[in-house]
């Protein structure tokens, strides 16, 4: 169990993290979602003991994390955003070193290294120098290096930055295996798709503050609508009265952008025929209709007034 209470960190006049609290239990995957510079990495660094918070505390299994040599740090595995590997050494030599940081050597180290390599699918390439690895392989090895001491809590700081979709999927598969093994994953990302795929709960961070902390359904409930109907009109918007459309039962929002009408509805099955019939009756023909689900981007936009990518 990871428990973070009111962590705060400032650099000069800039408050990087402002009283952030969170909880993460066994087998739970928590996403820290926010734009670049939101404070996600600083939060992870404080949990890992790399940065001393100005105030607040980190508890692991009920015990506060204190000092460089706190044995409690063994319960944490850190996957840094950077490829924290020695390119000049082989993958195995890298893992031997990182295992030794946790006093693992001999048979224990060999077994841990074997399991980690197996998980990330690099067993066959273990004797190769890391500099010959592809970006995706390095990312997988970066993950393996954090697993050697079998930590209960895994802190993953944007672990898929700069990798191809195939390698990203491979890493997701690895993380899902770890989740099934009961590991607690704290996953920072600014990709909403990653958070949606992996996380049981998402904490939205902006300007160092927690904006929302809930499950995906819980976050979606914060939205006025969960479904959008996108209708591409043939003749544009001539004579289209949005106020009349909003008066229809079940219609929550209506917005016309570049010839596409987006209608927010509570129930897609019931409202879609009604909206389409309303358009036809008033002579607004359309050539394409699609439905869109609300996503974390919409949630972030709703909560902060800004897009994740623009922030």
């Amino acid at each position: 169990m990871l428990q973070v209470d009111a962590l705060k960190k400032s650099y000069g006049g800039l408050v990087a993290v402002d009283r952030v609290s969170l909880r993460a239990g066994a087998g739970e995957t928590i996403g820290l979602l926010g734009p670049n510079g939101a404070g996600k990495t600083t939060i992870v660094a404080m949990i890992a003991g790399l940065i001393r918070p100005d105030s607040g505390s980190v508890h692991i299994e009920g015990r506060p994390l204190a000092g460089d040599t706190d044995p409690n740090k063994r319960r944490i595995g850190l996957v840094p955003q950077e490829l924290a590997l020695f390119d000049e050494l082989t993958a195995r030599a890298n893992l031997e070193l990182f295992a030794a940081l946790y006093d693992l050597d001999g048979t224990a180290a060999k077994r841990a290294i074997g399991e980690a390599l197996e998980l990330v699918g690099l067993t066959d390439r273990a004797q190769e120098r890391v500099k010959n690895y592809s970006g995706g392989m390095k990312r997988r090895l970066n993950l393996a290096a954090a697993l050697l001491h079998d930590p209960q809590i895994l802190l993953l700081d944007e672990p898929t930055v700069g990798v191809d979709p195939q390698s990203r999927n491979a890493i997701f598969d690895n993380l899902e295996v770890l989740k099934r093994r009961g590991k607690t994953l704290l996953y920072t990302t600014h990709y909403m798709e990653e958070a949606e795929r992996l996380c049981d709960r998402v904490i939205i961070i902006d300007h160092g503050k927690v904006v929302a902390d809930d499950t995906l359904p819980g976050l979606y409930r914060l939205l006025p609508v969960t479904n959008l109907l996108a209708v591409e009109l043939v003749d544009g918007q001539d004579g289209l009265r949005l106020d009349d459309l909003l008066a229809l039962p079940g219609v929550r929002s209506a917005k016309l952008e570049a010839g596409t009408l987006r209608v927010g509805v509570q129930d897609l099955a019931t409202e879609t025929p009604r909206v389409l019939q309303w358009l036809v009756e008033r002579g607004h023909l359309y050539h394409h209709v699609a439905s869109e689900r609300a996503n974390l981007e919409t949630v972030f936009l709703t909560l902060t007034g800004r897009s994740l990518r623009d922030a």
Partner: protein, 431 residues
């Protein structure tokens, strides 16, 4: 804890051994430069290989005296004498292919002979010299003085020209009405005595002064080194200098390496482990010291095998100086890491600082060439103590007691650098 400490040290050694650039800079480059400087500084045969001073002679007189001067100059071991013409000699000195040119003017022999006994005006010998070699000019001038004195006196006392000149001089003195009586009488007596001596020699009544005046002493030169029959080995100084320089470069690499580890996120991984700061920095310092010690030993081993550089003094002292210098280097590397922010910005500054302390430490040029005030100032330069210690234990052949001060000074520097590094090191990873 020991497992992680050992692994961190082992990692640094491994990274060094797989880094071709590091190997090149630690072994090949100092050996190459040390070999070159060693050869230039006299090699392993004492002064045998020391280059001679190129001197040109222009004999416009062609007298017995001028020929004698040229012959004597040619016999000097320190000079490489070649005949020339006035125009060529001047051009050669200007270009730097000759250091000094000696021009003996026409009638020099006659005029020098006259001036030898009488008040006549002294003839001039032209000495053209390269202004960047003033020390050599002074040396050639000294040698020339002795050679001219010997050549002129020999001719005056034993040569045909000299005998005629004695007679002529006697006649001139006798006829000179302006010469004060108190000078005239002794001068006449002197010249008559020389004339009588010459006649006596002609009759075979004595050995005569066939060699003229000679320098009334000889020298017995001895290079004071470790023991008798141990010659100064120029490679010893050259290798000490280059080892000091390139080991410090190794220290810079240690510091830069730490900064790169921080930049590449490795420091986060290390700090995330339950390791003390002492283990993290200590392991780096130990590996740096091991590498520095190794580099010193390998370079001197090469110098020993190829150029015969021996530890003529205390081996324990040599190892002690090497170890203390290695620790100082480790401290220096840690200091570089603690002061620097980015590897790129730090490297240039660190190299500049290193070159300065290497220069002031006497690794490039011997410290005795420095002004006195600067020599005193170098007590605060760690490389001075490394050079002093290594030279004392190699070609100077001094005992362990001579290594104590350099070792103490180097350890002091190591402690100060290490303490500063611990205080200034930025432990926290950027968020």
């Amino acid at each position: 804890m020991m497992i992680s400490f050992r692994a961190l040290v082992r990692k640094d050694l491994l990274l060094f051994l797989v880094d071709r650039r590091a190997l090149l800079m630690s072994f090949a480059v100092p050996i190459a430069i040390g070999s070159f400087f060693g050869y230039v500084l006299g090699g392993s045969g004492g002064q045998a290989n020391a280059s001679k001073i190129p001197v040109l002679t222009v004999d416009q007189d062609h007298s017995a005296i001028s020929r004698g001067i040229v012959t004597r100059l040619s016999e000097e071991k320190a000079l490489d004498v070649k005949p020339s013409t006035p125009v060529e000699a001047r051009a050669a000195v200007r270009k730097g292919t000759a250091t000094v040119a000696v021009i003996i003017p026409p009638n020099f022999g006659r005029d020098a002979g006259s001036a030898f006994f009488g008040p006549q005006q002294k003839p001039e010998i032209g000495v053209l010299f390269d202004p960047s070699h003033t020390a050599e000019r002074s040396m050639v001038a000294g040698i020339l003085t002795g050679d001219v004195m010997q050549a002129v006196s020999k001719e005056m006392f034993a040569g045909r020209t000299g005998r005629e000149m004695v007679k002529d001089s006697l006649a001139q003195v006798e006829q000179n009405q302006h010469l004060p009586a108190e000078d005239k009488k002794p001068l006449e007596d002197l010249l008559r005595s020389v004339d009588r001596w010459n006649q006596q020699v002609d009759r075979g009544a004595g050995p005569g002064l066939s060699r003229g005046l000679t320098v009334p002493y000889t020298t017995r030169e001895e290079a004071v080194t470790a023991r008798q029959n141990i010659q100064y080995n120029g490679y010893a100084h050259a290798f000490a200098g280059m080892v000091v320089q390139f080991v410090l470069f190794l220290g810079i690499d240690v510091g830069i390496g730490l900064l790169q580890q921080r930049q590449r996120g490795l420091w986060k991984r290390f700090r995330a482990a339950p390791l003390s700061r002492g283990v993290l920095l200590g392991s780096r310092a130990v590996s740096a010291a091991i590498l520095a010690f190794l580099v010193v030993q390998v370079n001197f081993l090469f110098a020993r095998l190829i150029f015969g550089v021996r530890v003529e003094g205390s081996m324990v002292g040599f190892l002690g100086v090497s170890a203390a210098f290695a620790l100082m280097t480790a401290g220096f590397g840690m200091l570089v890491a603690s002061i620097g922010k980015t590897p790129e910005a730090t490297r240039g500054l660190a190299i500049f600082a290193t070159l300065i302390v290497v220069m002031l430490g006497g690794a490039w040029i011997p410290m005795f060439l420095f002004p006195q005030w600067l020599q005193k100032l170098t007590v605060v330069v760690p490389t001075r103590w490394a050079m002093e210690g290594l030279e004392a234990m190699t070609w100077r052949g001094l005992g362990l007691e001579a290594a104590i001060v350099p070792i103490t000074a180097l350890l002091l520097f190591a402690a100060v650098f290490g303490a500063l590094a611990m205080v200034r090191f930025r432990w926290e990873a950027e968020g």
